[in-house]
């Protein structure tokens, strides 16, 4: 149909065009000023779906970074504590070797050796009870006040009935089987603690197992032997066994530290990748947007100019 054209239809269509151009300009201005292509789900439903997932992934990655940083603090604390423990026990081993010459030593000399071993034990005890932010790093998931609970020994009693002296026992408070884990990805957790029972040994059932005493019971035994004038060289095997256990734990901690460091590196690059993806889904291309706005502005001005020109003349201007 060939439309009849009247002043009203011209005015209508001009107004409609001006409004359409203004609306398009407003939409572009909105994108430009907000900097985002998706301000509501209907702007790009599939983009919204991606965006929700990517943003959740971003927040999860940030949380995993926090977890990993927290885990690093645990692992480095444990690592340095284990190093100190090794040197402490190393010194105790040296003293045990020295005690081989007990025959030539004065009681004062022996007492000096025994006292040093006692102080080494105290030092080892304080290492075992190392805390990080109020948590015993060797107590695992237990909330006990210390990682090691000491039960004092009893001296021999003459009786009746006569009882022999019992040595002090040292029980580790970690919960068997429960470990402290830090989540570094959706499907990976890394263990960040070492249990006192594995590192220092534990005297279960309130008795010292002569074949496998705790490090503290071992040091007690050495001090007692030296005081009584016998050599502590017989304990060297037990000390060496303990030292190798701690070294093994230390290398396990090192491996876990590596795992966390790797996870941190992966998380770092994942965060960068996620940011890039989020940006590509939601951010406007500034150059393109400026160009579009410029173009839109020209169109709008054109529509306005056309409105100004087309509505002016009428036959009345020419009829006299």
């Amino acid at each position: 149909m060939i439309g009849r054209v009247t002043q009203q239809t011209i005015q209508r269509s001009t107004l409609a065009n001006v409004q359409m151009n203004l609306a398009a300009a407003a939409a572009l201005q909105n994108q430009m000023s907000s900097g985002t292509k998706i301000s509501k789900p209907s702007d790009d439903p599939s983009g919204t779906s991606d965006l929700l997932r990517l943003q959740a992934d971003q927040r999860a990655a940030t949380q995993y970074q926090r977890n990993a940083n927290d885990g690093t603090a645990w692992l480095s604390t444990i690592d340095s504590t284990l190093s100190s423990s090794v040197s402490t026990l190393q010194r105790a081993r040296d003293l045990a070797v020295q005690s081989g010459n007990t025959a030539s030593m004065s009681p004062t000399g022996r007492e000096a050796l025994a006292t040093e071993i006692d102080s080494l034990k105290a030092q080892l005890m304080s290492l075992a009870n190392t805390k990080l932010l109020g948590r015993n790093v060797f107590a695992g998931t237990s909330n006990a006040a210390t990682a090691i609970t000491v039960t004092p020994g009893t001296p021999a009693s003459a009786g009746p009935p006569a009882t022999p002296a019992t040595p002090a026992t040292y029980a580790a408070n970690d919960v068997p089987g429960a470990t402290v884990q830090r989540r570094v990805s959706a499907d990976t957790t890394v263990r960040v603690d070492a249990s006192a029972s594995a590192v220092f040994g534990t005297d279960t059932g309130g008795v010292v197992d002569p074949a496998n005493p705790s490090a503290f019971a071992l040091l007690d035994k050495m001090a007692a032997e030296i005081r009584s004038g016998t050599s502590a060289t017989g304990d060297l095997t037990a000390i060496d066994a303990r030292l190798s256990t701690i070294s093994a734990q230390q290398s396990a901690i090192g491996a876990q530290q590596n795992q966390i460091t790797n996870a941190q590196t992966v998380l770092g690059s994942k965060q960068v990748a996620l940011s890039a993806q989020v940006s590509s889904v939601q951010d406007v291309d500034l150059a393109e947007m400026i160009l579009k706005i410029q173009q839109q502005s020209v169109t709008y001005q054109g529509a306005l100019a056309a409105a100004g020109k087309s509505l002016q003349p009428s036959l009345m201007d020419y009829l006299k």
């Binding site: 209907s42 439903p45 943003q55 927040r59 109020g134």
Partner: protein, 479 residues
């Protein structure tokens, strides 16, 4: 032929041209009147008399011109097209606007939306897994969970408010329909009496047609023009206006959002019925009323019910998923005092899940971060809870699915509305092209009528001079 017949011929032209000029004047006067349809004086020539007699062989000219009527240059087909397009554009427009409202209340995607609040809550659980002995971390878990609960309440309430708003809009639309329909009926009877009296009711018809288009916009009504110039307005084939009688319609059915979401069918749907026979629904085919009814529709099993009730159902699903998944894990753990833990979230069964959801725990030590086999400061249960977001059936996935579906629906509603609006605009343009006044055209017509009037006057002068010659100059040859 009479000697003087030419005078009456000229006179008839003078009268006809003057009348036609008045019609052009009326057109120009209404050049900008909304709904005005241009008119044209129908000038017809008057045939000459023929005398039925044997020797009447003198051919006679006609007897001038007369205005037989003033016609309205509307086109019923264009009017019908505009009404159909208006009905569907109004219906889709209402739906698109409601979707836009819903989208803005949902507030996604943003850093403050529910998805972000859920992530924050899961992060708080993860922090709790790192520091199960920290009272501060425990308090953060409670607060972040409370924020999610509050957000779900707000979302549900805003859907409910929008529903109530639409429901009262519907009531005012229906009363608008009734008023407009009785106005059309009144105009019909006035038009009938004027045309019966031989008058021109064109201006009243313009008013009436505008009202009929309003009815189309409200109800998708169509019009049927009767032979006597009145129109019947039909909604889905049933008469809303039948000549001079209007049939009122009324709203029944669900009055509150609770009715719409929880009542058993058919009490959960809002219906528009005939006021005289409330058992029969008005078969609406378009218009704002139909659009609003679609917005107010109850939810259905396939998720294709009304957008607001479906949104509420989705909020409930998110709330239920949150309570179920978190509680299922939480109840297996032990709290900070080593006691078996209870539920973390409580759901009030007497309310919709989104409104009835609350954090059951107020004492931070009652939060279970530890499994019963781990120690008191074990965080493995909190870690498991923090990972719930990525499991199937998680509140996050339910929420994301809802947001994406809303986006798709809203986008398609907007697109359909845009297309329908373009069709309506085209139909209106075509109608306007037919009915609107062109001042240039009217100026030309005025010129034509003016010249014709001048010519007729000249004819009168010429006849006058001829008669003058005949009467006063006859027989004065040579004087």
């Amino acid at each position: 032929m009479s000697t003087f017949s030419g005078i009456s011929t000229a006179l008839s032209s003078l009268m006809a041209q003057r009348q036609a000029l008045e019609v052009a004047g009326q057109n120009i006067a209404n050049a900008n009147t909304v709904g005005y349809t241009r008119q044209r004086a129908d000038i017809t020539s008057i045939a000459g008399m023929s005398t039925p007699s044997m020797y009447s062989s003198v051919p006679s000219s006609g007897n001038g011109a007369t205005v037989t009527g003033i016609s309205r240059l509307g086109d019923p087909f264009l009017d019908a097209r505009l009404r159909t397009a208006t009905g569907s554009a109004a219906q889709l427009g209402v739906q698109a606007a409601s979707y836009a409202n819903l989208e803005s209340s949902v507030g996604e995607p943003s850093t403050t939306g529910l998805s972000s609040q859920l992530s924050t809550m899961w992060s708080a659980w993860s922090d709790l897994a790192n520091n199960p002995d920290s009272a501060a971390t425990r308090a953060v878990v409670l607060q972040d969970s409370q924020a999610v609960v509050d957000r779900l309440k707000t979302l549900y309430t805003s859907a409910s408010t929008e529903w109530s708003q639409s429901r009262s809009d519907l009531a005012s639309m229906v009363s608008d329909v009734n008023t407009t329909a009785s106005s059309v009926a009144d105009l019909n009877s006035k038009i009938l009496s004027i045309t019966n009296a031989g008058g021109s009711a064109n201006e009243l018809m313009d008013q009436r047609d505008q009202l009929v288009t309003q009815l189309s916009s409200l109800t998708g009504a169509t019009a049927r023009v009767r032979d006597n110039g009145t129109v019947d307005v039909l909604v889905g084939g049933n008469a809303l206006v039948d000549g001079a009688r209007a049939n009122a319609i009324a709203v029944t059915g669900a009055a509150t959002f609770t009715n719409a979401t929880t009542s058993a069918p058919p009490a959960n749907s809002v219906q528009v019925v005939w006021a005289s026979n409330p058992a029969v629904q008005v078969p609406l085919s378009g218009g704002k009323v139909a659009g609003t009814l679609a917005v107010l529709a109850p939810p259905d099993a396939s998720g294709t019910g009304g957008m607001l009730t479906e949104a509420a159902a989705s909020y409930n699903a998110v709330a239920t998923a949150l309570a179920t998944t978190v509680n299922a894990l939480h109840a297996t753990g032990q709290d900070q005092n080593g006691n078996p833990a209870g539920d973390f979230f409580a759901v009030d069964a007497t309310q919709p899940a989104a409104l009835g959801l609350s954090v059951a725990i107020t004492d931070t030590t009652k939060i279970a971060a530890a499994t019963t086999t781990g120690g008191i400061v074990d965080g493995s249960l909190a870690d498991k809870i923090s990972q719930l977001s990525s499991t199937s059936g998680s509140p996050d996935s339910a929420w994301s699915a809802f947001v994406v579906k809303l986006g798709v629906d809203s986008k398609s509603a907007t697109a359909r509305s845009t297309v329908a609006e373009a069709a309506r605009s085209t139909a209106e343009g075509l109608q306007m092209a037919q009915t609107s006044v062109s001042t240039d055209e009217e100026a030309t017509n005025m010129l034509t009528y003016q010249r014709a009037y001048e010519g007729s006057a000249r004819v009168l002068t010429a006849i006058d001079q001829m008669l003058d010659t005949l009467i006063n100059r006859t027989g004065v040859v040579g004087l």
